[in-house]
Symmetry: C2
Subunit: 106 residues, 2 copies
DNA sequence: AAGCAGTGCAACACTGAGGTTGCACATCGA
DNA sequence: TCGATGTGCAACCTCAGTGTTGCACTGCTT
């Protein structure tokens, strides 16, 4: 599954924040609730919840309700898809720019 | 070559902007100067130059001086490296979370 | 039933990213 | 030489993102 180039900047914007990155890495270890995650962060639970919401909108985490608790889980496949899209673009650029360079030298 | 997990959020922050993304895609086609790039954008040349500086600090583009002109060129290999790092993380998460899920069900 | 724990929502403050304009400086071309 | 062109730098403005606090609500737990 590919992500779609249009939404790539949005996804990367979600990834381009140290706090969200820390949360994601933590969630890559095991699912956890906002309150639990906030315990390891120097910011309030509400702030953490907002970051998690951003990650959820970007499709990087999913939620699972357990009674009054909301557990967040990282979605590895989404990250893989982003990686694939990125690599595809990179290869396209490499090919094109190599052609131009060769033409300039030839 | 790997990027280093510490600097990943910074790199993604650079990618997480629509204008910078547009500039990158344009540069993936062919090298160009800030003034040339600004002609295709709805913002001033100075604003474009700033975005290019951000991309340069993130290692996503490189510059090449031609007289009074500064040409920017996309670095595909850097994008490939980011893709690799991302994929590595994703696979690690998948494996760990699968283990946990199996343990919970077993 | 009563209290505690986990969330959600709203109002507010602060900072930095992203934009603009104006000007000075180097370099190419006629 | 001199005007035109491409850059760089600085001052300034605006606003969305990130943080805070306070409060209400819901669902465990005893």
């Amino acid at each position: 599954m590919t992500v779609g180039v249009e939404s790539l900047p949005a996804a990367f914007a979600a990834l381009g924040d140290d706090t969200r990155w820390a949360l994601l890495q933590r969630l890559g270890t095991a699912p956890a609730s906002a309150t639990t995650l906030a315990a390891d962060q120097p910011i309030s639970r509400q702030a953490v919840a907002r970051h998690l919401e951003v990650l959820r909108e970007a499709g990087l985490v999913e939620t699972e309700v357990h009674g009054r608790e909301v557990r967040y889980r990282a979605i590895g496949s989404r990250l893989s898809a982003l990686a694939r899209d990125l690599d595809g673009l990179a290869q396209g650029w490499e090919r094109r720019l190599r052609t131009i360079k060769a033409a300039a030298e030839g």
